[in-house]
């Protein structure tokens, strides 16, 4: 509504205009205000599917600060389905999912938290009167309707611990079962900033720039090693003899040199990160985590997996 129209409306419904008392003005204005409010609070519609994962990612996301979780849920995203957060249960929850998928087809962002077992009976997301819906079925169905697909955590991005050997469930990355672009936001768990920041990017500017593993370069552009506070120790060949010491953790199995993430700057919950805690980076954002990182505490150069 234009400014002039608004003023006219107010004048037409002024209490001085006889029988059109001011309560009808309130009615007219409230409708206008609420439609203005709706058009201004553009949020990202999100369907969040949990598959084969420890749910550590959603716990990590609950640790977000600025925005805190409540603000994130109220102002950044419209969380239309989430096993962890929604109040609805049972058939009501399934109805929410179906309604969201239909109503917001082509608009919603599908967040998948967890790897996808090719052995379908190893991961069933819910059971209806028509039968079991496996993670694979659900992801294929929703992945075909979504505007963006975000793989949340290392399991969803690359298989992760859920696909660690011997991988009896034959779990694979979300991108391996969908014939479309998947934005990988890896980490075990994800750092809340990486996920909240990626969704904010989708909302504000659309698809972010991605690296060759389809991860936002904003967070995964450089290796841990490149920005590590202990780099001068490394360059001088000054290595810790034990955990808990102040020197470079390479000798303790640090895989920072091959791990892309911004932990040295970003930190965890704003206060710390593994190397600052005098322990090695174990490469939890990597495509080969955890099999490419174990045995932990063994220098990269001696690790038989390398």
């Amino acid at each position: 509504m234009k400014r002039n129209e608004f003023i006219n409306l107010c004048q037409n419904y002024s209490p001085y205009q006889g029988n059109k008392g001011h309560s009808s003005l309130t009615h007219k204005i409230l409708a206008e205000v609420s439609s203005y409010h709706d058009s201004q609070t553009e949020k990202l519609p999100v369907i969040w599917l949990e598959t084969n994962c420890s749910c550590d990612n959603n716990i990590s996301i609950m640790n977000t600060t600025y925005p805190y979780l409540d603000r994130f849920l109220e102002e950044t995203i419209d969380l239309l389905y989430s096993n962890t957060f929604m109040a609805a249960q049972g058939q009501d929850a399934v109805n929410n999912l179906k309604a969201a998928a239909n109503k917001k087809a082509g608009q919603f962002t599908l967040v998948v938290e967890g790897a996808i077992p090719l052995q379908e009976e190893y991961n069933v997301v819910f059971i209806t009167s028509q039968g079991e819906v496996s993670a694979l079925e659900a992801v294929k169905w929703l992945g075909g309707l979504a505007k963006y697909v975000v793989a949340l955590g290392t399991c969803a991005s690359f298989g992760g611990p859920s696909a660690a050997r011997p991988n009896l469930s034959q779990s694979v990355a979300v991108s391996e079962v969908l014939d479309r672009e998947v934005i990988n936001v890896s980490g075990c768990p994800v750092n809340a900033d990486w996920f909240v920041g990626t969704l904010a990017h989708l909302l504000m500017y659309g698809r972010p720039e991605l690296d060759n593993r389809n991860r936002p370069t904003l967070f995964y552009g450089y290796t841990i090693h490149r920005h590590c506070q202990r780099r001068s120790y490394f360059d001088n060949g000054n290595f810790a003899e034990n955990l808990g010491e102040i020197e470079c953790m390479f000798s303790q199995g640090c895989v920072g040199p091959k791990t892309r993430a911004d932990c040295p700057y970003r930190k965890w919950i704003n206060v710390n990160w593994p190397v600052e805690a005098n322990t090695p980076c174990i490469g939890c954002t990597n495509p080969d985590f955890p099999d490419g990182s174990t045995p932990f505490f063994t220098p990269l150069s001696e690790n038989s997996n390398e």
Binding site: L69, N83, A87, Q89, V124, I127, N278, P295
Partner: protein
Amino acid sequence: MSQTINFSPVTRLSGLLSVKVVIDDGWIKEANAKGTMFRGYEKIMQGRKVTDAVYLTQRVCGICSLAHGAVGSYLLDELYGSTLSQRAQYLRNIMLVADFLQNHIRHFYFFSLPDFVEFPNRPPWQNQNLVDGRLKPKDNQRLVGHYFDAVKVAQEAHEILALFGGKAPHQHSFVQGGVAVAPTADKINRAQALLANILQFIREKLIPDTELLAQVYNDYFKIGVTPKRLISCGLFKFGEQNQDDFWPRGVINGRQFAQPDVDKIEETVANSWFEEEDGQLEPAPDKPGAYSWTKSV
């Protein structure tokens, strides 16, 4: 006439759960809680170095992650014959408590409260199926407000864990032999300030809210009552060899108190999708009569 109801998904928990109920003539004949997600960490650990246990087993579950890491650390302490300093034990317990606080606050407010309190009908609470809402509007509104207050204090509990542990969930410094981070004055001071906020929340909100629900729903105490047999395996270890428990272990059976006999505790897979082959448990999703990936004890 028997009728089968699949209540699925059971939401607001860490993991995937469905409940199948068979009703006959108004009576529940069977109630099967189905864990529909296979994890397989027993198999993942096989053939790896024992020292992988602390970091790797934490990844079983996001909300109780350090509980798994702590047990891994205690076993490795024993294996390597570590001697723990009292300072390390205090710090380990502070970290473990911080994870517990995070877990309990989130469990109470994010996971349980929507079973008792009416939430605003907008995402993620739309179409809430509250079947037994009883709170007065004023109390209801106050508890919804506390849900939002819980966001910050639960985060602060994890901030304490990250402060000493490097990150949370899946901390790094509580490992075999002790703790990798020193409890320096700056960190202790920060942790105390965070803890003060958490304590205030627990005293002023969590406890009164629990009491209110216990009072309004006091008939729930009589539903599904089981024999009063309770067990604690002890909590918060102290001593150079982890030999002392801050909270003692014990079994209460009616009015009797005894020490737990851990040899009597057994893991069973009678109703789980596992079968024993050559002394090893193998997944068996087609096992007749089984209904869950979860094992029982």
